[in-house]
């Protein structure tokens, strides 16, 4: 029994999502190989080889794999699939696109967005936007899983697995990469961001919202969110709204500033790994879900907090 983990990477860098998915892959109990399929992806493969607990890294290098296009990537995975009874991918845009295609070609029913591995054949996953959790058991000899990485800690570094070159499969030639527009701004997309900083109506005005929230978001390399009340009051644009009628986010860190914590807002961020609340009212409902709460005047706290944090750009990549 062996597991193949499809790495998430950008050729020159290995994404942290791979390390998190690895934790899940290792929990299946079988030796894990990591596939790095890309173009000039040696650096990513090197980084993968340093993850603890794996057997080896497979590096498939071809220009057709440069942009993680689904069809060539799937073809490459399929060529290797025979040696594995579990194929795992992080539930990233690439993983979510590639894994089901692999599963169908192997005639396997996939289990998506695994949040917990109970046994090599039993998993928990969210349904109804996380309002219910299913425990699913697979009766299949071979399985394909995608992993909701927000639920797993990254596997540690410190290993030194061999990197083995494998052939990339021939490009089926039915798709072509035209262009990529990665967000250049320091601000990531709200629903994909690792950190979200959100402001509420207590900010009092659009000017204050920008003045107080944006520097903190920039500092943390975070996306900016807002409560519905803040959006309705005109302090933040509509597409910053987090909540039941806005966006549903599951970042590693969610900082709620001046947000009371109406359940409609909480519905949008309850799956965050860590919630911080800063509010003047110690009884605000947000403190019932916050892991860390700081009661006080946000106009005093925020500048202090922003200054106390290391800049996002100073942190190690990944």
């Amino acid at each position: 029994m062996t597991t193949l983990l499809i790495a998430e990477h950008s050729n020159s860098k290995l994404s942290e999502q791979t390390a998190k998915a690895l934790t899940a892959a290792l929990a299946l109990g079988a030796p894990v190989d990591i596939l790095v399929a890309g173009h000039e992806a040696g650096a990513a493969a090197q980084a993968a080889s340093q993850l603890a607990g794996i057997r080896k890294v497979l590096l498939a290098d071809d220009v057709s794999l440069a942009h993680q296009l689904a069809e060539p990537l799937v073809a490459t995975v399929l060529a290797l699939a025979d040696g594995y009874d579990a194929i795992v991918a992080p539930a990233t845009a690439v993983g979510k696109t590639v894994a089901p295609r692999v599963a169908a070609l192997l005639d396997v029913s996939q289990v998506s967005e695994v949040i917990e591995v109970l046994a090599p054949d039993t998993f928990k996953r969210p349904i109804y936007a996380g309002n219910a959790i299913q425990t699913v058991k697979t009766g299949q000899a071979r399985n394909v899983l995608t992993i909701r990485t927000a639920s797993f800690r990254p596997a540690t570094a410190g290993g030194s697995a061999p990197v083995e070159t494998v052939a990339a499969a021939a490009d089926p030639g039915i798709s072509r990469h035209v262009g990529s527009q990665v967000s250049e701004s320091a601000r990531p997309e709200l629903t994909a961001a690792r950190v979200v900083v959100s402001g509420g109506r207590a900010l009092g005005s659009a000017e204050k919202f920008s003045e107080v929230i944006l520097p903190l978001a920039d500092r943390l390399g975070a996306a900016v969110g807002a409560s519905r009340a803040a959006v309705d009051a005109g302090y933040a644009p509509n597409d910053w709204q987090v909540g039941q009628t806005g966006k549903i986010v599951a970042p590693d860190l969610y900082v709620a500033i001046g947000i009371s914590g109406a359940i409609q807002h909480i519905a949008g961020m309850k799956d965050a790994r860590c919630i911080v609340a800063i509010n003047k009212d110690g009884d605000a409902p947000i403190f019932q879900v916050a892991d860390y709460g700081l009661v006080g005047d946000l106009f005093e706290i925020l500048p202090e907090l922003t200054a106390a944090l290391p800049a996002a750009s100073e942190k190690a990549a990944g």
């Binding site: 309705d232 009051a233 509509n238 009628t245 109406a262 359940i263 519905a267």
Partner: protein
């Protein structure tokens, strides 16, 4: 309807024999009866909720007299929604520290009309879904997700049909790319079955002077939750009502608590909207009621699964307006047939639907259309609805005039007299007094009520509650709660009455942000659960409730 569009939009229109607004018990009963007696008629029912039952909220203990008249063989069917007959009836009087349950012998002394033998505890929403299936099987067309926004009049000023709300209008009133003018549905007759304080009904009553010579309409607000309780706490068939705490003796209202099947308990609280203290919050009265030590135990180990609210009519016999106007009629709670002491109205809603349908079928059969259904108006007081309401006509006036304890005692005696003496009462027919909105007294005359903070176990905050109503509205549409005079709201609703809308609204729609000159009236229209309380209780009648886009509002399930 917005008058802002320069030219009248091109509207598609379609003709039916009968157009019914509202898929509640009255509307569906009318539709079914029409098809029973005149199957060739084309009957269309419009419902603004996303599905039948989505906007239906009631206790409910139902007297099957209406359903028996509509569907005589229903008891032979399998799978009807009437699964829980009333098996026990309890009456409690609560004080802050204790609860006194009326002993069985005293219960037996209540007038017969108050007894619940033969009645059923149901989800009225489920009953409506069941009626809708029967209606559709008979060929009635039911369209959910479409709000009738206005009446359409012919060249004689008779109601010729209804106009559905426009879709795709931006918040500022301009037309979006998806703008679609609402269709016009024309009929020989239009039946307004919108429930209490219906928006088209309000227009019809005003335009045709239907309330001339009638007493003022009276209302209560009913707030309800559905709980799944621990099996050991569940007593299917138990009906329980209470008076007293937490309301004071001058404020009408009380609680209901009904055990359905499947470990479900329907619990709710009614506050009469003629209350005087602007600091009163019906929602918070309800929440603290559940914390009473005689009430709380049933909820231990249980979980709250649904929440909602709706205005309930309380005017009864004296307040029912003229039911008919050229081209149509009012049925059900749009007319106001709730029997206040019995807390039942759906039976009369069904009966009125039947009566109206009979009149419509006869009229169309005789080649008539767009005239007044005089037979329906002339007949109701002598029929079963009238008989039901006449006996209790003085209950609400006595309660309002003499307070809860003396008033109810006198009302009890009065009901015995009317029962024994064929409707006669020594009081004659008492009048209701002021309209509800005029009963509110200035804040300066009252003290703030210190409501307890919700414990999150049996009592909850407003927003968590609204969350469980599944209410939803597209953000980019005109606000459907029309404030006629913003300045008046500030100088009266806020300055004089201390903003009662922030308390009587069970959904947290209204907020006053800021103080003094900076004070702003915020209307969170998206929270609205379509209860109509603001339309009723605003002290200056400054808020006019209009239907938002169809398919929006609460999505009640089994309420």
């Amino acid at each position: 309807m917005s008058e802002e569009t320069a030219a009248m939009p091109e509207r598609e229109s379609m003709e039916f024999d009968v157009v019914i607004v509202g898929a509640g018990p009255a509307g569906l009963a009318a539709a079914i009866r029409l098809k029973q007696v005149a199957p060739e008629l084309s009957v269309v029912v419009l419902e603004k909720g996303a599905q039948v039952g989505a906007h239906v909220l009631s206790g409910a203990v139902v007297d099957p007299i209406g359903i028996d008249a509509l569907l005589p063989d229903w008891r032979q069917e399998e799978g009807t929604p009437f699964r829980t007959p009333v098996s026990e009836d309890r009456f409690m009087i609560l004080s802050k520290e204790s609860g006194f349950t009326l002993p069985a012998w005293l219960m037996k002394l209540m007038p017969p009309l108050m007894h619940n033998d033969g009645n059923f505890i149901v989800s009225l929403g489920e009953v409506c879904a069941w009626l809708a299936t029967k209606a559709e099987a008979l060929g009635v067309e039911i369209y959910c997700g479409f709000a009738a926004a206005d009446l359409s009049y012919d060249e004689n000023g008779a109601v010729e049909g209804v106009i559905l709300g426009d879709m795709g209008v931006h918040k500022d009133g301009s037309h979006g790319p998806d703008y679609t003018p609402g269709m016009k549905l024309l009929g020989k007759y239009v039946l307004l079955a919108e429930g209490a304080r219906g928006s088209l009904s309000k227009r019809a009553i005003h335009r045709f002077g239907l309330d001339a010579g009638r007493d003022v309409p009276k209302f209560g607000i009913g707030i309800k939750e559905l709980w799944e309780v621990a099996p050991e706490r569940h007593r299917p068939g138990l009906v329980q009502h209470s008076f007293g705490w937490p309301l004071d003796g001058r404020t009408g209202g009380g609680s209901f608590l009904y055990h359905l099947d499947n470990n479900l308990v329907a619990v709710g609280f009614v506050v009469h909207l003629n209350y005087a203290n602007p600091y009163l919050s019906p929602f918070e009265e309800f929440q603290r009621f559940k914390t009473h030590k005689a009430i709380k135990p049933v909820f231990e180990g249980g979980r709250r699964i649904a929440y909602g609210a709706r205005a309930i009519t309380e005017g009864g016999w004296q307040s029912v307006p003229k039911l008919v106007f050229p081209g149509g009629a009012l049925v059900g709670c749009a007319a106001g047939f709730v029997n206040v002491p019995r807390i039942k109205g759906s039976h009369n809603a069904v009966l009125s639907g039947i009566e109206a349908a009979n009149a419509v079928a006869a009229a169309i059969g005789a080649g008539r259309s767009r005239d007044t259904l005089d037979a329906y108006e002339a007949g109701w007081r002598n029929g079963p609805i009238g008989q039901d309401l006449r006996l209790v006509r003085n209950v609400k006036p006595l309660w309002s005039r003499f307070g809860t304890y003396a008033g109810i005692a006198m009302a009890g005696a009065d009901m015995w007299l009317t029962t024994l003496f064929g409707g006669w009462s020594p009081f004659g027919t008492l009048r209701h007094g002021k309209p509800d909105h005029a009963s509110l007294e200035p804040a300066a005359r009252h003290a703030r009520i210190a409501y307890p903070t919700p414990d999150g176990v049996v009592s909850f905050d407003r927003l968590s509650s609204v969350y469980l109503s599944n209410t939803n509205h597209a953000e980019d549409q005109p606000v459907h709660l029309n404030l006629a005079d913003a300045a008046l709201q500030k100088q009266s609703e806020l300055a004089e009455f201390a903003g009662p809308s922030t308390r009587y609204c069970p959904a947290g729609v209204y907020e006053w942000m800021g103080t003094g000159d900076e004070a702003r009236f915020v209307i969170n229209a998206q929270n609205c659960v379509h209860c109509k309380t603001c339309d009723i209780k605003d002290p200056n009648q400054n808020i006019d409730w209009q239907p938002p886009q169809g398919g929006e509002g609460p999505v009640y399930v089994n309420m």
